[in-house]
């Protein structure tokens, strides 16, 4: 994986933005295709079978489901093809919709080229890419009070104490490496925790996470 380039398809309805992404990604990444709406995205992904799809959340076409629809339609291609959501929106509903559709991470379009390349490589390796904002959202949705800590590891509706710590540090702007240093664990362990949180976010029966989060905001 270290010598091979990560093959990427960029899906976004703005040509300017696709060009910008293409230019900002570094040498570890090879953009093999582009698409501008739901239909062409599904076609391009099926044709190129990329390692990672950089997926805009709001896309025209299809049945109106945007990026989440693309991820759901191409779910049979995973784990060969993984999705990284990329959006200007930081609304909780958009984040949850695309993560629950199977995306392995969520970054906002303000991200720098180097950070985006890191996130792409991380997703290609099967890990999850969490931006500080996504981590903050996870904490908001699952709760931060002592009563919100999971007692068993297999609980899907609550985060374990360690997962909460990791999420908190990511929300504070720490890179994975810095999180590892702060908690005296390896980067690999941090990645394991983040993937576990992603799984909970995707599978939790704490249904309608968004509405729940919205209610919390109304406190």
């Amino acid at each position: 994986m270290t010598t091979e380039q990560v093959r990427v398809v960029v899906v976004d309805d703005h040509l300017m933005f696709r060009a910008g992404v293409r230019a900002s990604l570094d040498g570890r990444i090879d953009v093999v295709g582009e698409a501008e709406d739901v239909g062409s995205a599904i076609a391009a992904i099926r044709e190129h079978r990329p390692d990672v799809v950089l997926l805009d959340v709001h896309l025209p076409g299809g049945r109106g489901g945007g990026g989440a629809e693309v991820a759901r339609e191409c779910a049979d291609l995973t784990p060969g093809t993984r999705f990284l959501a990329l959006s200007v929106s930081d609304a909780a509903d958009d984040v949850v919709a695309v993560i629950r559709a199977g995306a392995r991470g969520y970054v906002t379009k303000a991200i720098t080229g180097a950070d985006l390349s890191d996130a792409v490589v991380r997703v290609a390796q099967g890990d999850a890419a969490f931006s500080p904002r996504l981590a903050g959202f996870v904490l908001d949705a699952f709760g931060t009070a002592p009563a919100d800590v999971a007692e068993r590891d297999d609980e899907l509706d609550r985060l374990s104490a360690r997962e909460q710590e990791v999420m908190r540090l990511i929300a504070r702007g720490y890179a994975y490496r810095e999180v590892a240093g702060e908690l005296f664990i390896s980067v690999k362990t941090v990645e394991t925790h983040v993937s576990a949180v992603l799984r909970k976010l995707q599978l939790s029966s704490r249904h309608e996470l968004t509405r729940w989060a919205a209610q919390r905001k109304l406190l």
Partner: protein, 421 residues
Amino acid sequence: MTTERLPLRRPREGRWVAGVCTGLALHLGFPVAGVRAMAVLLGAAGGAGVLLYGFWWLTIPPGDPRDAAAEARPAALSRLAPRLRGVQQSAARRNVLIALGLLLGAAVLVAVRTGVALSGGWVLPAVIAVVGVGLAWSQLDTQRRPGARRADGRSPSAVLLVSAGLVLVLVGALLFAGQEAGAGTMVRAAMAAVAVLAGVAVVLAPWWWRLVRELGDERTARAREAERADIAAHLHDSVLQTLALVRLHADDAVYVARAARSQERELREWLYADRPAEGTSVAAELRRVVAQVEDTQVERTADGAQPATIETVVVGDAVPDEQSAALLQAVREALVNACAHGVPPVSVYLEVGEESVQAFVRDRGDGFDVREIEPDRFGVRESILGRVRRRGGTAEVVSRPQWGTEVRLSMPRAAALKEDA
């Protein structure tokens, strides 16, 4: 607007009984007193006025004629802010109704005394039926009143009252029609009547249903149009202005970047956030603090000075109090310091817990030795650490070379402090 005639509505403001006279006066442009006098005169003359009044009460929809006029125009053209309300008179209406009832009673008594033969046979059914009709129609009036209805326009008590009214009218009609008949005939007649009514209801139901649905559709369409006009007005005000300013200052990179960032922040708030009411959200206060810092500070990047961009993450929310206000002031100082002395990206994380509010401000500079802060350097020691510690919070500065600096603040919430005391 001045030349146009106001639509016929029964306004809530300034009405005596059901607002028919006030509405007529507004519609025709006559003085209200004159219209009322006319109505009373007509009423005295054989009850025509009363009948007419009842007819209009039923057929004229309630509402403010000025609002109705505004609604009839496209939303994009009318003002968005609601109008100020006039004085509401609701007590008078009940008094007038009671007076009408008493007058009716007196008239009946007078009629009995003067020897008009009132056979008890029809008085009781008539009274029952009139009460039933009154009960049902009173609901017709309140149902259409804006604000008092639920989403579907009905409340359980309204449905109950209408059905009670219906039953009363049925009973009254049966008593009236079947005065001489025996109990068996009455029951059969009642069943026949109910069956006929049910048949009619089944036939008419689809039409009624479609009418209701079309009304709802129209209402939502209007609301959507108003919303769109609202957003268009906002876009015009802020985004176009920013674009004009950006074009004027195209050679001033810092200014352009700052204007773009400020506009982005505002637009984001509009598009993706539920905007909480003023003074109810610590998260909103923090965003305001961040906006102020971004608008005034410059950070040192590899490409030279750039307007500050601060990554902000908030978890939880609460109503602001003095404790959180002090914490946010300290956060503000920390952000200013981070922009001035640190290296971007600068990030702030705020977590509102049940007991305390925690804030972390991080930058990626080379760090500095906290012990080397001169005692006379007021910035960090007083305005950040002191401010939080004086209110029972904890504050520390962690700084490492090649890692940057993080200010960690934790402030107990006012509610939690009171419980301890």
